[in-house]
Symmetry: none
Amino acid sequence: MLVVDDEPSILRALRINLAARNFQVSTASDGASGLAAMARERPDVMILDLGLPDMDGTEVIRGVRGWASTPIIVLSVWGHESQKVAALDAGADDYVTKPFGMDELLARLRAAIRRASPAPDEPVVKTEDFTVDLAAKRVTRADGSDVRLTPTEWQLLEILVRNRGRLVTQRQLLQEVWGPAYETESNYLRVYVAQLRRKLEPEPSRPRYLLTESGMGYRFDP
Amino acid sequence: MLVVDDEPSILRALRINLAARNFQVSTASDGASGLAAMARERPDVMILDLGLPDMDGTEVIRGVRGWASTPIIVLSVWGHESQKVAALDAGADDYVTKPFGMDELLARLRAAIRRASPAPDEPVVKTEDFTVDLAAKRVTRADGSDVRLTPTEWQLLEILVRNRGRLVTQRQLLQEVWGPAYETESNYLRVYVAQLRRKLEPEPSRPRYLLTESGMGYRFDP
DNA sequence: CCTGCGCGTTAAGGTTTCATCAAGATCCTT
DNA sequence: AAGGATCTTGATGAAACCTTAACGCGCAGG
């Protein structure tokens, strides 16, 4: 996170408060060095005071918007409404007037960050023989062909893949796929694990990825 | 655009000003009808007054955020800072205190809309048999002829194409096309997917692009 | 050696889900 | 106000899926 402000007191207050929330804070005290820091460090958010000594705040905003869509929160002493409009239309994401409450600023920061990171990238798990894409709900064999999985098969595989390398107990599997009432129906597991092996393993009767831990549960080993 | 406020004077002022800017405005005067209107009309932005007669404003925000990421701008008389924090953390995008300047509100609206419609990464998707142009809302067959799609057909196709390669659950499709109240009407999907196939697939009864994943949803595979 | 247990495998039945068609209801335009 | 397009709704046969039961195998303990 980058804070650009020419008042040392504000800079200090922000640095302390933000650092206390585990934000990585860097600072700049004029527009030019702010833009330079922006290019150098690529922060997640920029907090920008409009009253800078060297250049107009909207110029800084435009300078950033030319190449990045990083959220910009503008900070400013109470000015004319047209100033807010200019800053927002230049590409700012939010506008807070000083004096401001730290809690409000933090909340607006969270909102800006939340908006900017919409894609919690789901992992793609690869093995030598197939690839599991959790986001697309898709399994592809090494030769490129798709594997057709039924809903239950997919649920089961998903749990095992999300816990890859770890042993998952029969109880947990049954509970998450079939519900708490089926905790003891380990028959279901045998049937469905066998189906998954038939579809995924190069040698279904000698499993390499979907391993049985006798008496306990199953493990997916990539 | 949807405005939810219980003060008729504000409602009128906003309606006039927004309509003058060529916004399509619809209104609601309490939380419940606001949520209903949201589901029914799918506006691009929601302007929400926190002081509603029937329910807490943050509840409305959460109600929307449960299924949509439509920008929400909160309007409120000056209150305690914690109110702002609560609204923003519930999922609001911006917070404006009354009395407010119309120009500022409009600028914040523009900012919210700008953020919500990010640069479409790949607005044209091609297959061997047809081309979908998301920006122009147009589908062209390989021989150059246009495909006529009804609004509902287009909405459905758009979601599938935007998520190309990924499985989209029935739930998500129903929610985004027909609204959260239709989550279980999977009949609609069958009818409309069949229509899309009839218009796009070379062999409608043996789909190549619009694939069914039984029990889970549909997938567009280019 | 026999027995019991856990696991793998297979297949049949019953149920759910899907594709397709068509008729009414509704919306929109003329 | 009529007509066409579009959207709902219901019914039907077909396909996919889930459940269940039966049987074989290997292994440990009696």
